[in-house]
């Protein structure tokens, strides 16, 4: 099984791919995955990792490193050129793409709320597609809006252009959670927010009970976010996985890219301490 650390570089302090060594089947598994553009340019090369159920895996790396690509391969937004991906034990090739995507919550940086749908209609999208009864949908929308901290009475009938960036982002999260999917893929979901708002949202995100039970793969290039939200951090550089750490291990990492992130963090801390 791919629970061995055969694919991770043998850096000191690096963990094995499974954080707890349990025998539970991984929710998501990537085996030797490569993605190549039609013109031959390779975005991902031989990537292998696995995500346990209920775990939050953060993929950290520079822009263009390939982390978004990796994410998009999981829900078949892109089709991998080589290797295999298993979701809940089944190869994604055997999943119907539409069923797969409805089974996975998806949140992106630009959020992509439908401008012509109200907030409640936006959130209700997947339940609507799945044919839930209107009552069930209404109840769920209310529940979710409460969860993400939006006053249902005030905001349900508003349109996206009437919301602030932070509010829109919360609607995006609510929408991703609407059908209660077991897996969540998030591609820099807080990227469009200013630091203060981002901080608020981070705090709330951590407290969301619902999210604790879910398997989350979160892509970001914000190291603070990675440390705050991730159970494990996978560092991606130039299309390859260069390290997989627990947050604590990450701070002690010697791998160059990971170390660079940590050094950056330290730089700000030292600036603060020096004052």
């Amino acid at each position: 099984m791919a629970n061995d650390s055969t694919n991770t570089p043998a850096t000191p302090g690096a963990t094995r791919n499974t954080s707890s060594g349990s025998s539970v089947a991984p929710a998501i598994e990537m085996r030797g995955v490569s993605y190549q553009l039609p013109n031959g340019h390779s975005l991902l090369c031989d990537l292998s990792l696995s995500v346990d159920p209920g775990e939050t895996l953060v993929l950290l790396g520079r822009s263009g490193a390939g982390k978004s690509t990796a994410l998009k391969l999981i829900n078949r937004m892109l089709e991998l050129t080589r290797g295999e991906i298993l979701v809940e034990g089944k190869s994604i090739k055997d999943w119907d793409p539409i069923v797969l995507r409805r089974h996975i919550g998806y949140a992106i940086q630009d959020i992509g709320l439908f401008p012509h749908y109200t907030v409640e209609k936006n959130i209700a999208l997947v339940p609507q597609l799945e044919g839930w009864t209107p009552d069930r949908i209404r109840a769920r929308v209310e529940e979710l809006m409460k969860l993400v901290g939006l006053d249902a009475g005030k905001f349900s009938r508003r349109f996206p252009h009437e919301l602030s960036g932070g509010q829109r982002q919360r609607v995006g999260i609510a929408r991703a959670l609407a059908a209660d999917p077991p897996i969540l893929l998030m591609d820099e979901p807080f990227g469009a927010l200013d630091p203060l708002t981002r901080g608020e949202v981070h705090r709330e995100f951590r407290s969301l009970e619902q999210l604790m039970r879910k398997t989350i793969v979160l892509v970001t290039h914000h190291v603070g976010e990675a440390l705050l939200l991730g159970n494990r951090i996978g560092v991606i550089d130039a299309g390859a996985l260069v390290g997989m750490y627990s947050p604590k291990e990450f701070l002690a990492a010697t791998e160059p890219v990971a170390a660079a992130y940590v050094a950056n963090l330290r730089m700000y801390k030292e600036a603060e301490e020096g004052l």
Binding site: L100, R101, Q109, I111, G112, P115, L125, L129, P160, G172
Partner: protein
Amino acid sequence: MTFLQFFSRHSREILQGTLEHIWLVAVAMLLAVLIGVPLGIIVAKRPWLSKPILGGANIAETIPSLALFGFLLPVPWLGARSDRLAIAALALYALLPIIRNTAAGISHVDSAVRDAARGMGMTERQILLQVELPLSFSTILAGVRIATVLTIGIATIAAAVGAGGLGEFIFRGLAMVNNQLILAGAIPAALLALGADFLLSLLERRLRPVRA
């Protein structure tokens, strides 16, 4: 006789001519929309088809309208009745703006919205019907508006091949050197075009999706 007197004397015929004109334009526009919007969607989804489809529509547009009417004359069934002929030519003319605007509207839908829709598990058909078409409706309508105003104008030439409409007053007036008759055709036609433009612009504005 002043022009207004002329108008009221012949009001019934002028109304008749106006109805004929509207009928020609309505049928032609219906055809153009039914054919043009799907073609526009195809062009947006398969860009490699844009050259032949847009190219074809462009050729139809470039042929002088009177010549296009003439070309269609010998075509069986179509050429037998001049109103069929006129409607076919008018529909061909209306295609280009409609195809072009439909394609533009759909391809300009915010890619984040399209990504989100796809990522959440909407089928291509659902994305088209629930996201792309509603969001590009205003642009498509702009194309329909342009095409309608164009068609109302070109339909006056349809009288040259016997399709009737307001153009017939103009041609008869020219043959009789009768200015009032010419105006009896030209003014209602101009008013129709202005009215259609105004109404459709209103609609367009009301339905424009607000940007986030």
